[in-house]
């Protein structure tokens, strides 16, 4: 997908003239200090254990803003639905949008609804865009980081990680992708697996308040492995993580093993990784754990200049080391 974007999309869009424009391929863009993002959602099926296309749409956009260091202030809701789409399903989705928007405390401020004939889309496609302002705790947060070193960027971009930074994951990984896939394929794990879809803006507020966070990224498509590799690549650093330290729910592990899927490679919808300057990691971890979305947060590794730049290394449970690669293609399609 990154290659497709570079070859067939970005070449037409280059020169946005922004410090953090579309070329950065980061979670959100920054335009005149407004943080701005957009995402289309096509999960299949539309309803799954723990969430639906509505909660996914709201949380995905809130999270893309929050992990840049922004306070989300408004969402735009673009819906395309096919004629004959069940009105009760539609209202269930709208209720879910309302609930998630309420949880995040970010209102839907603008919208567009188009109805197309049956078959022109499969059910409903929702696009959510969002805007945010610089978080009021960002200056304090970065001030602490700057005692340690000069930062490349004054937002929590993928390019900001540097040797010594401690990496925190905000909770268990693999939940969303495995829950959705198992539900879709009828593998029978539905009773024990549940999506983690949740807004992360309150968690990010806590993390910023504890100071020293330099990068944050939500682990959506391609999961933890993809997020870490994007950091390694864009920050031009090596990263090492400990397999044993990465929280994975027992049920998720069991389902992943049976299906032959790596839980580190599937998408999450309520999890992020944070890079924190050394010395502040425990404080940030404690802050993150103080909110419900972060109770299972853990320190999983660090940025290490002993590792080749651009590479993510996994120290396995049995004491070995292997490269943690970015998944090729999407191991679980249409989960978001």
């Amino acid at each position: 997908m990154q290659d497709f974007l570079k070859e067939h999309v970005l070449k037409f869009l280059e020169g946005s003239g922004q410090k953090l424009g579309v070329e950065a391929l980061d979670d959100s863009a920054v335009v005149k200090n407004i943080v701005f993002t957009t995402d289309s959602h096509t999960p299949k099926p539309l309803f799954f254990p723990g969430g639906d296309v509505g909660s996914l749409s709201v949380c995905g956009t809130v999270n893309d803003l929050a992990v840049m260091g922004a306070e989300p202030i408004g969402l735009g809701l673009g819906m395309v639905l096919e004629e004959g789409f069940s009105l009760s399903d539609f209202e269930r989705i709208m209720k879910s949008i309302k609930t998630s928007s309420g949880k995040a405390n970010v209102p839907i401020v603008t919208g567009d609804t188009k109805v197309v004939e049956r078959g022109a889309v499969e059910g409903i496609i929702i696009n959510t865009s969002g805007i945010g302002m610089r978080h009021h705790l960002m200056e304090g947060n970065l001030e602490t980081a700057r005692y340690v070193r000069k930062l490349k960027h004054d937002w929590l971009t993928d390019t900001n990680a540097a040797a010594g930074d401690v990496i925190i994951v905000t909770g268990t990984v693999g939940d969303h992708g495995l829950a959705l896939m198992s539900h879709r394929e009828g593998y029978g794990f539905e009773s024990t697996l549940e999506s983690d879809v949740a807004p992360l803006n309150h968690l990010m507020t806590k993390a910023l308040g504890a100071r020293g966070v330099v990068s944050a990224k939500d682990c959506t498509r391609g999961g933890l492995a993809n997020a870490l590799n994007e950091w390694a690549d864009k920050s031009d650093v090596g990263i090492v993580v400990q397999e044993d330290a990465i929280p994975v729910r027992k049920e998720v592990r069991a389902a992943a093993d049976m299906l032959g899927i790596d839980p580190f490679e599937v998408g999450n919808e309520g999890k992020a990784i944070l890079a924190v300057v050394p010395g502040n990691a425990e404080k940030v971890l404690e802050a993150v754990r103080s909110v419900p979305e972060g109770t299972n947060a853990a320190i999983i590794g660090k940025v290490d200049d002993g590792i080749k730049k651009g590479m993510v290394v996994l120290e396995t449970s049995v004491g070995g080391r292997r490269v943690m690669e970015s998944p090729i293609g999407d191991p679980v399609p249409r989960i978001c």
Copy 2:
């Protein structure tokens, strides 16, 4: 559609807490002085005389921002395409996006691309969101209007029109809807009809510079008739327009007559109506006409307190008067 939105969408979104939020059903929302809008585009076919889904997406969003009194500063591009979608068609659309974004001088700053299996969407669906800042000429523009009367709102909202205001349309109407429909159905008018899709931000800059514009609205779905009726309804005023004064291209008129379609009821993608305080209309008209998108602009009527509130009256060419109603349903579906 308005009823569907009120009954099944807005009841879940109410209380956005914004002065100009989703409840206002205006062209864009205003959140902390950031103007924000979103639109999904599903034209059928994707390419038509004078434009395509790419130019439509960019111009639609630029125009929604511009007619609020904003300077668009960035666009978000959310694309969902089906597997096997022609790469040359895709690149043709991307080129068109680039061209329109260049014409408008508004960059694409953020984006998202999802590929779904064949049949999950018909070709490609594009959502464009956009943000804008208050136009630097707005204060001067409104200052002039305030010499004449107190304004209900300090953006160019649908609620701002009042008795005496002169109504300008920025060019010929009906072009887009009839071009697209004729092309789709193979009626044979393709050689003479062409969409009017164009960005209106430069035109709006000229209009604001001439001062006294209190409301502006692009005449998309439901065309001129729908736009005027929304004003009459939301501003709680009566409006009278002269049929002879409304510019319609000869070829559009001929096609409309043959197909039994009212050119005032079909969507445009490069036309807006402006309400201007009395005394400044000629100046604004001249300014609008000075840009290529506005050469056919005309004064078409006025807000008239002799007309029942909420009503739009058309003075016909033969000297009669009839109510110009908002089209029921969409006379030409999937034109945008």
